[in-house]
């Protein structure tokens, strides 16, 4: 039964005992497509006929393990900041779950100083309860 990559046949695999196929796949470029289709004859019985990877009669889809490694990591939880000797303000990027009082607690050690942050950002903040991830807030010096 033929295997295909980009509609190019890679060859055939002959079944072993108990419908087991093993064959090493080689010469695949790291950035090639991750999905491979193995066409099989119409299955009516046996373990393959009950496989969850069987997409209708006639083909099995499998995913190359290396594809998971090709995926870019998740950086959504990265926290950034900055400060300067040439500025009395620092900049803070809001993260999910943040509130002005939490930020004030982190920056000043006192959650009650949230209003200081709100006043410094009145040009972009209309409601102190409405901040969103990714928003940049000016953090004035304590």
């Amino acid at each position: 039964m033929p295997r295909r990559q980009h509609n190019n046949e890679l060859g055939e695999i002959s079944s072993g005992p108990q419908f087991l196929w093993t064959k090493k796949i080689s010469n695949l470029a790291p950035t090639s497509t991750c999905l491979y289709i193995m066409k099989v004859p119409t299955l009516t019985a046996g373990p393959l006929a009950e496989s969850p990877n069987l997409i209708g009669q006639g083909a099995l889809v499998f995913k190359k393990e290396a594809c998971m490694a090709d995926k870019m990591p998740d950086f959504s939880d990265v926290q950034g900041g900055s400060s300067s000797t040439a500025s009395s303000e620092t900049t803070y990027e809001v993260k999910s779950g943040d509130s002005l009082s939490k930020i004030a607690k982190r920056e000043y050690g006192d959650a009650n100083l949230w209003r200081k942050i709100f006043d410094a950002n009145k040009d972009t903040l209309k409601d102190p309860d409405k901040i969103y991830p990714g928003q940049l807030l000016k953090i004035p010096a304590k």
């Binding site: 900041g81 900055s82 303000e89």
Partner: protein, 152 residues
């Protein structure tokens, strides 16, 4: 013409000639000196960019390194000279193969009156994926330096 008229006319001519002579004798006015060129406006320029795991009160990296561990907070310290108003920005990116993704981008307004230091930092609670990164620094949206680093 009577002598009186002649005398009057001569006197008049003499006065006129004198006046002309006086005019010609006046020194030519000194040419206006060109105004001195205005001094070039003070500007901010970026010097050294250092990477490290901590900064001191002066915002400078304590011990420059280029390799970080999974749990490190990564600092970039940027030295500037000059005076004025500008915005420094640090863009942190991760590179894998031919793919690049922006990890974080942070602007910092500055108003230095002389040499100054600005620090940028990033942290990741779940730990940094191993690989190649870089931080690129911009001064008013113009790239002024790139520092690569590794997480291993």
């Amino acid at each position: 013409m009577s002598k009186k008229c002649l005398y009057a006319l001569s006197t008049l001519l003499l006065i006129l000639l004198t006046a002309c002579g006086k005019k010609e004798e006046q020194p030519a006015p000194a040419p206006e000196t060109a105004p001195a060129p205005a001094p070039a406006p003070a500007g901010i320029s970026v010097g050294a960019i250092s990477l490290g795991k901590a900064v001191g009160p002066d915002k400078r990296v304590s011990a420059p390194v280029e390799t970080f561990a999974k749990g490190d907070t990564i600092y970039a310290s940027v030295e500037t000279t000059g005076a004025g108003t500008a915005t420094l920005k640090a863009r942190w990116t991760y590179k894998k193969g031919d793919q690049t993704t922006v990890v974080s981008e942070e602007p910092q307004p500055i108003t230095p009156s002389g040499p100054a230091t600005t620090e940028f930092h990033i942290s990741k609670p779940t730990g940094w994926p191993a690989g190649q990164y870089q931080v690129e620094v911009f001064l008013d949206d113009k790239s002024v330096g790139v520092k690569p680093f590794t997480v291993s």
